[in-house]
């Protein structure tokens, strides 16, 4: 089984890739910042998953008689203008953030891998045209397009997936194409071709599995960016629609009552900042571990 992972030796180091990968993992596990990030992420994911079941208040149902309560023993983070418990809303927003991060990043990875894989494998004129197109869109403010897509599609969780997923795959396509370009020259691909394997089989069976490490790292780095974009969209009023909560819309909501009810700002801003911090630690660790050039 181990042999299947390590088909072909790495031309630079002469080591089988599987070995290199395990070294990267060991490097990652020794990185204290990255591990702290993983723990923090785990805690926040657990809170987002289990929290809403344990916490007695609902994110959507409020009691107008209890609007704008300051944080206390019952409502730890206070209540908002509709008397909704702020902690319940923050937990819900955290959940939205994590789901958006995972799903949107997965769509980015899927589209980017497919696009980059085809461009890199087919090569020639097709590659030229496809990559020119990527270049065209690379230099422009992509956020503008996401905002426009959200306006056209309307607000909502599903549309956030679509808008972010459809726009932010360009970097992924570039990375996968580069990988495929080097991989397709390898001997074992040549061998498969000689044996009469179809291009689809070569791509799916021999080329894509070997790009996996790079794709996982790049895909992980996409998650926090997707989370940030969702929060941004909800902040400017284009993302998640009421009564659902997003960390972005919660910060925006606190903005209107900042002078009298500043505590509403505390929960959502702390949650999104810690989330980004955790992802940054993990991301830095991944980059360190998988990019041998950066390794000291």
């Amino acid at each position: 089984m181990a042999n299947e992972m390590g088909q072909g030796n790495d031309q630079r180091t002469g080591e089988p890739p599987a070995f290199r990968r395990s070294k990267a993992w060991r490097h990652l596990r020794r990185n204290r910042g990255a591990m702290a990030g993983v723990v923090l992420l785990g805690l926040m994911a657990a809170a987002a998953l289990v929290g809403p079941f344990l916490w007695p208040f609902d994110y959507a149902g409020g009691n107008l008689a209890q609007q704008f309560l300051a944080p206390g023993r019952v409502h730890w983070l206070g209540t908002d203008e509709f008397g909704r418990d702020q902690l319940a809303r923050v937990l819900y927003g955290l959940r939205v953030s994590l789901i958006v991060g995972l799903v949107a990043a997965a769509i980015n990875v899927a589209i980017g891998s497919l696009y980059g894989g085809v461009a890199g494998y087919v090569g020639g004129k097709t590659d030229d045209v496809m990559m020119r197109l990527v270049e065209v869109f690379y230099g422009i403010p992509l956020l503008l397009f996401v905002m426009l897509l959200m306006t056209v599609l309307g607000r909502g969780l599903l549309n956030v997936f679509v808008a972010i997923g459809l726009v932010y795959w360009l970097g992924m396509a570039r990375i996968v194409r580069g990988q495929v370009l080097t991989l397709k020259e390898r001997d074992y691909v040549e061998a498969a071709r000689t044996l009469g394997a179809s291009p689809a089989r070569i791509i799916l069976r021999h080329v894509l599995p070997n790009t996996l490490g790079v794709v996982i790292v790049a895909g992980t780095l996409r998650i926090p960016e997707a989370i940030f974009i969702e929060a941004f969209l909800s902040f400017v009023g284009l993302g998640i629609a009421e009564p659902r909560a997003s960390l972005g819309s919660l910060v925006a909501g606190s903005l209107g009552n900042l002078e009298a009810q500043p505590w509403l700002l505390l929960g959502p801003s702390l949650a999104i900042s810690l989330l980004m911090l955790a992802f940054n630690f993990v991301g830095d660790g991944l980059r360190d571990a998988f990019d041998p050039q950066m390794r000291a």
Binding site: G139, I140, P141, M147, F232, P262, S269, M276, N280
Partner: protein, 311 residues
């Protein structure tokens, strides 16, 4: 060199055309027209308005007309402000954004680069750890959180600054928005400068310079700094993009009547304004990126412009 420049400019024009086409058709999908859906004007007036905006013609004809007008650098009349061409609206809303963006750029570079060099020179000591901790917090806190917190602390609690810049921006009131806008980039530039500086300081030619007994300042600024700046230079393009898109948030929080806020307000019901602002932003970024590429060629003699065209 000239040929390279020409081909790049041509490429930019193609890019702009693709963007214009994409935005034109996307904006066509936005429901509603140039009148208030709650109080529709009488039919004859609606027909007049439609004719004014060429909406009574097929979409293909509208597209061709629009592209022709764009070629003449005319962005057409806005839906919301009937008699105002979009270019005039952009001209009115851009100055506050430009001042803010330049200030943020200055903060990011003028503070970030020295901080990064400082941290690199004190690698793994207290000053380095402190700077790094600040930088990682800086890249983690989203701009809309940073802005709202700054607003609360310095405007509402301490009363050191004001918001609502209506009659021309005053410098003290611009510090908070600029810090919000440039905060992420400041942290990013700091980290990048530090990493790149550490890398360069390890090089053989730096060790040689040290071995020759050159003074520290000479080694740092003459032998290392210039090379360490090259990666930072490549970040200028994304930095400009971050400042442009950050303005959507910052101008909203601090009530600055700039182009970012104008775009957010136009996005639901003013397709000509959307197209205009999208093209304006894209042009700005493209020109900026081109300038950075050219600058890169001058800064690093190992790269010859023109040869790098096909990367």
């Amino acid at each position: 060199m000239l040929r390279y420049l020409l081909s790049r400019v041509l490429q930019c024009l193609v890019t702009l055309w693709v963007i214009a086409t994409a935005v034109f058709f996307l904006a066509k999908l936005i429901p509603g027209g140039p009148y208030d859906p709650d109080k529709l004007p009488p039919k004859e007036i609606r027909e007049k308005i439609d004719a004014y905006y060429h909406l009574n013609r097929p979409v293909a004809a509208q597209y061709l007309y629009c592209m022709g007008r764009l070629a003449r650098l005319d962005l057409g009349p806005s839906y919301r402000y009937l008699d105002q061409p979009v270019q005039r609206l952009i001209a009115r809303h851009f100055p506050p954004s430009a001042v803010l963006g330049l200030l943020a750029l200055t903060i990011a570079l003028a503070l970030g680069v020295p901080l990064g060099v400082y941290a690199a020179l004190r690698q793994n000591r207290l000053g380095d750890w402190g700077t790094l901790a600040l930088a990682i917090v800086g890249v983690s806190v989203p701009n809309f959180v940073l802005g709202t917190v700054l607003l609360y602390v310095f405007v509402y609690r301490l009363g050191w600054a004001d918001i609502g810049i209506v009659e021309g921006p005053r410098l003290p009131d611009l510090v908070l928005p600029a810090l919000t806008l440039g905060g992420f980039s400041l942290a990013f530039v700091t980290r990048m400068t530090r990493a790149s500086m550490i890398e360069v300081l390890r090089q053989d030619y730096v060790r040689t310079a040290r071995a020759k007994g050159l003074p520290q300042a000479r080694v740092v600024w003459l032998h290392s700094f210039r090379n360490a700046m090259l990666p930072v230079l490549t970040y200028l393009g994304p930095l400009a993009a971050a400042l442009l898109t950050g303005s959507f948030v910052v101008e909203h929080i601090f009530h600055i009547p700039g182009l970012g806020e104008f775009f957010v307000q136009s996005i639901e019901d003013d397709p000509p304004a959307i197209l205009g602002v999208a093209l304006f932003y894209s042009t700005l970024l493209i020109v900026f990126n081109l300038a950075v590429d050219l600058l890169y060629g001058f800064a690093d003699p190992r790269i010859s412009i023109g040869a790098q065209e096909r990367k």
